[in-house]
């Protein structure tokens, strides 16, 4: 990453207020093509809200978002997905009653055409597309080692598989940028390790840029090239993992939280400590 690649996803100065609470304020992000970008911050810092703003679940009240030159802010979530921004959810949101295969096929829905007449009469165009969707979905499932579970109900899958299925479904939308919301949540160390390599290989294989929210600092520091740190809805630091790790503001934000939880006096600690330790577990 010596040459600066073109900016793919750019958020400038976006913000939203919920009933007086500034959930996200003046957030700016630049995710270049093929980047692996981390978004971290203490609990309640506004990371998921930022994702919701980017993907249109909430409407931005200030600022703008562009993806490869197209403006996303003001568009509805499905239009944003069509533009090439796909995501997973912190609390997995699969289509539980549907089969694993159907979940992934739904991912590629937005790249197809769906005419009722074709559907009802099963025209060749319809069958072709349906077959293609299925083949593609099976191929994706194969990449994630889920092909054997294609016929299972999504909700019957073990937790780790559900996480992977969600990523798989998001990739089926043919995204330019993939937003992963705490993909390692609830995973054990070995699962996390394999997740890290999966994320790296996704970038290679699908050529997508990845924006990652993660609590596991080890994982983020390990795989991300660039990290943005949020606290109280605002960017407090941004840069390489090494830079962010040593930024006093970041340490203060994290340790402050630790102290708050410990003593409840709300005063922020100033002691210097390794971030990796501060948030381990």
């Amino acid at each position: 990453m010596s040459t600066a690649p073109a900016t793919l996803l750019e958020a400038s100065d976006i913000g939203i207020t919920f009933g007086g609470l500034k959930a996200v304020q003046g957030l700016s992000l630049r995710v270049p093509t093929g980047a692996l970008h981390g978004l971290i911050g203490p609990n309640g810092a506004g990371k998921t809200t930022a994702f919701n703003l980017l993907t249109g679940v909430y409407q931005t009240q200030t600022g703008s978002v562009t993806l490869a030159g197209t403006t996303l802010s003001g568009k509805r979530p499905h239009e944003i997905a069509l533009a090439g921004l796909s995501r997973t959810f912190q609390n997995i949101r699969l289509f539980g009653e549907l089969s694993v295969l159907d979940n992934v096929m739904l991912g590629s829905h937005l790249r197809g055409t769906h005419r009722l007449i074709r559907t009802v009469f099963r025209t060749p165009a319809f069958v072709r597309q349906e077959e293609a969707m299925r083949e593609r979905a099976l191929e994706l499932l194969g990449i994630f080692g889920l092909q054997g579970l294609a016929a299972e109900q999504a909700k019957s899958l073990p937790y780790g598989d559900q996480r992977r299925l969600e990523i798989c479904r998001a990739l089926a939308t043919e995204p330019k940028v993939l937003l992963l919301d705490e993909p390692a949540a609830g995973m054990n160390p070995s699962e996390k390790k394999s997740l890290a390599s999966t994320i790296r290989s996704i970038r290679e294989r699908f050529g997508v840029a990845i924006l990652l929210i993660e609590h596991d600092m080890g994982l983020v520091m390990d795989i991300c090239e660039h990290i943005t740190v949020l606290d109280h809805g605002q960017v407090i630091s941004a840069g390489t993992p090494r830079f962010v790790q040593d930024d006093p503001k970041v340490i203060e934000a994290y340790l402050g939280v630790v102290e708050e939880e410990g003593t409840g006096n709300g005063e922020r600690g100033t002691g210097k400590a390794s971030l990796g330790k501060a948030s381990a577990g």
């Binding site: 993907t55 249109g56 679940v57 509805r76 979530p77 499905h78 997905a81 069509l82 796909s86 995501r87 959810f89 949101r93 699969l94 289509f95 539980g96 009653e97 549907l98 089969s99 295969l101 159907d102 096929m105 739904l106 991912g107 590629s108 829905h109 937005l110 790249r111 197809g112 769906h114 009722l116 559907t119 009802v120 009469f121 099963r122 060749p124 165009a125 319809f126 069958v127 072709r128 597309q129 349906e130 077959e131 293609a132 969707m133 299925r134 083949e135 593609r136 099976l138 191929e139 994706l140 294609a150 016929a151 479904r169 939308t173 043919e174 294989r205 699908f206």
Partner: protein, 363 residues
């Protein structure tokens, strides 16, 4: 990895067109219609042959409601409203049409043309109901479950009130010719619309039953059907996957309403006079119970439940008073014990099909 578009192009022609899969269901529709028409009179007396027509109408109603309530998960309580629109438009097409073209209604010599009029009425009724479905579908985008239920309930009631306000039926050829448009919409107020000939034989009714089932099933097993199901499962995830909620919710409402309209139009051609109370919630509840019992999302479940729930009261004549009490208990117990209904989202044949290999594409 190839994009979907490239993939689609690469599917070989041999797999893209399989005549048996494409055409056989339609042939089966006609076969079913003939079978019921010919076999029923041999097995049952006139009364039960007539009951069979009622059964057919409610199968269409239940399967169509299942598209929106079951598959898309948008709980509509105004289906009887759509049925009533179809009923009145269909009945009036045949009735007023007969007056205008033939001068009288129900002549034996006019039966063939009359049946054509009925088919025209089915189309007109379906279109009118679909239009209403579009109007009701729009607010559904902004309403959560129980609000939508109330709004659709209100819709049925509004249809009822509006039907009660219609003017007296025009029953002479001269009257109809004087102002065909006004005559067409003179639905005879609270007393109901009389005199539509019973052109809807078991053949026509069961033809449309079969067509409705094929269409509903093909929808369910298609990309559009998956989109409907995804909305029911999780709207936020569906949006994030690029599914246009507006488009699909409205689609579901329009489709359900259109087939509801067909059911209504057929019903008014079975010797039953449509009346404004048909649009009310009592009828809507009847159909909802069928859908819930059969399984939200199960086409075959709806078919079986509709057959069962129309036949049951016929067999338990003495228990008329307790029929709805029984339904209510059924509904509550169902939700407590087996909330997904008898078959859930599955079809009857899925149950003994064991676990087949990955399917989900075209059947």
């Amino acid at each position: 990895m190839k994009t979907l578009a490239q993939h689609t192009k690469d599917v070989p022609a041999s797999r893209a067109f399989r005549p048996a899969v494409v055409f056989l269901p339609w042939v089966a529709c006609v076969a079913v219609a003939f079978a019921v028409q010919l076999v029923a009179p041999a097995l049952f007396d006139d009364y039960w042959v007539n009951v069979l027509r009622r059964v057919g109408v409610f199968v269409i109603a239940a399967v169509s409601l299942n598209i929106v309530n079951g598959i898309t998960g948008q709980f509509s309580m105004g289906h009887a409203g759509f049925m009533a629109i179809g009923s009145y438009i269909g009945a009036s097409t045949t009735y007023t049409g007969s007056l205008l073209l033939h001068g009288s209604v129900g002549d034996d010599s006019f039966a063939v043309q009359g049946t054509m009029l009925m088919l025209g009425g089915l189309v007109a009724g379906a279109c009118a109901a679909a239009g209403a479905g579009y109007l009701v579908g729009l607010p559904s985008l902004r309403l959560r479950g129980d609000y939508l239920a109330i709004v659709t309930l209100g819709f049925g009631e509004i249809i009822r009130v509006l039907l009660e306000l219609t003017s007296k039926q025009v029953d002479t050829a001269d009257g109809a010719r004087a102002n065909p448009f006004a005559a067409f919409f003179s639905f005879n107020g609270p007393t109901g619309f009389f005199g539509t000939p019973a052109y809807a034989s078991n053949f026509w009714i069961w033809l449309f039953v079969a067509i409705t089932c094929v269409v509903a099933y093909r929808l369910k097993r298609s990309s559009s059907g998956r989109a409907f199901l995804s909305i029911r499962e999780d709207e936020i995830a569906a949006r994030a996957m690029g599914i246009d909620l507006t488009k699909y919710k409205v689609r579901a409402f329009v489709l359900a309403a259109a087939f509801g309209g067909v059911a209504g139009a057929l019903f008014s051609h079975t010797g039953v006079n449509p009346s404004p109370t048909d649009a009310g919630f009592q009828r809507s509840f009847d159909i909802i119970i069928m859908v819930v019992l059969g399984g939200l999302g199960s086409i075959s479940g709806s078919v079986l439940a509709a057959i069962l729930l129309v036949l049951l009261p016929e067999m338990l004549r003495g228990l008329q008073e307790y029929r709805l009490v029984l339904y209510a208990v059924l509904l509550i117990v169902m939700m407590l014990v087996r909330p997904q209904g008898l078959f859930g989202v599955k079809e009857v044949w899925d149950l003994w099909g064991a676990k087949r290999k990955a399917r989900g594409g075209t059947p």
